[in-house]
Each structure stands twice: as C-alpha cells, then as structure tokens.
Amino acid sequence: MKRFKVFFNIEKEEQWLEEQLQKGYRCTSISGLGIYTFEQTDKQYVIRLDYQDYLSKQKFAEYKGIYEDFGWTHIRGSRLSGIQRWQKEDNGQNEIFSDRQSRASYYKRLMNYSLWLGMICLAYSFMLYSDSPLYHEGLWSMEGSLFWKALLFETPFVLLKLLPALMAIVLGSSCYKAYQKYSMLKNL
C-alpha cells in the first residue's frame, strides 16, 4: 500500500503513522517526496518519531547503534538535521523516552527547529512579497470576462506564492505547541 502525505507537524505525522500501523500494517519506506509505503503484517508494530539536530557521521552511527540495540529499525531520517523515524515490533517497551527530562528536551529541540524553519519562511515571504504584488498589476484594469479569466488563471500562482507565508504560520503554531509541552514537563 502506498500513500502520499505531506506533514508540517511531526506529532501529526506520528499519529497518522500509528493509525496505519494499528490497521495491521508496517511501514517499509518513506520517500523524500512524501510517499509512505506499507505492507500488511500479522504482527503489531509501533512507530516513534524523534528529532535530532545536526549529527556528525560518528555521532549518527552511535545514535543509530543504540536505537538498533533496543530493537528499533531506522525508517527514515537524515543525519544533517531532522526527523528520525523509528519502528519496532510491539513488545511492551514501546517508548523512546522513559523519563520526564528527556521528553522535555525532545520538545525543546522540536521548538527550536520549528522556530528557525518558521523564521526562514517568514523572511523568505517578506522578500517575495515586497518585490512584486501578488497579482499582476494590469489585472485590475481589465474588464468583463477577460478580468475573470485572468483572475482565475493567476489565482493558482498566487496561492503558490502564499505557500511560504502559510508554512510560517503552521510552523509558528507547531513551535508554540512544542513550547507548551516543554514548559509543562519542565515545571511539573
């Protein structure tokens, strides 16, 4: 089974993956373009997502080594920075974090990541929108059906142009959610 999905929020992705696994699937691969491949299985699997900043080759090998010793299989994740996806057979020990401190620092990493990516999107949006207006200027002087046709034609491009701003909003809200969880764990 193949599914195409795009996520801007790591916890939503984890949730969705867990739902697929609960239906009796296991994930076999995730491509960079957002194609998730599953196969049917009699066994019950669990999937957990971790976030790590840049890791050197050596550190990445150590990171993977420890998880693999615990029975996790690395599905996808780049050592340069990003989301690490881990899957394993359900055996009762299904969490990747076993104490409050490590769960709090996971949310802190997530918070910083969304913050930076969000800022980049925001800066990029400003550059994009200050250079040129969203719609072609000549559009507003057109009349009748020509105006509507031109508007219809341009709108998809405008939506595309708005994408970085939308991403900045989504990332901003992920950052805030991660911050809430982080401060809750921190102040318990």
């Binding site: 080594g65 420890i66 998880y67 010793d69 969490e95 990747i96 974090f97 104490d99 401190q101």
Partner: protein
Amino acid sequence: MKHKLLPLSETMHYILLALREPLHGYAVMQKIEKMSNGTVILAAGTLYGAIENLNKHGWIEPVENSGRKKTYRITTEGSAVLKMEQERLLHILSLYEGREANEEV
C-alpha cells in the same frame, strides 16, 4: 551556582553508578534494570541523550579501542559528583530516621 544536572535525576544517577565499570549503551540499560530490581528500564532516546549529556560535561568518557560499540566509563569528575550526591542523600536519609530532627526539638 548549582550545576544544571544537579541534583541528579534518577536516570543520570543510575547511569553514573552503572558506569563505574566500562559498558556500552545497551549493557548500561540491562545493568540498570537489574540494579533497580526491574523498576527502571531506560528507553533508547533517553539513554542516548543522557550519555551525550554526561559525556559533554566530562562526567563519563569513552574508553579507547572499544570496537564497534562505544564503551563508556565514569571519570574522576563524575565520581566526585557521585560522592557529593551520596552525602546529600545520606543527610536526607538521616532526616528520615529522625536523628538530626530530634536534636533540634
């Protein structure tokens, strides 16, 4: 100012105690499970992060030529931290037993 890892969390405490003998990551988890009579079972991400953190602060260090799996052991600094924590906990224990509290009253 107090070090940000102090007082030691249960996880950090057990890891430092376990690493009084050189061990690799998974063996640390197994030893801690035994030491704690099965009450503390570390997860992979927690163990990786704790080892990173303790190593960064110089409380544990990798043992040279340890082969494919990196082996760590406690440093002198780490042992000093344990000693300090032991004194703190002994004091608390003495309060439990009511020795010092009774003297005051």
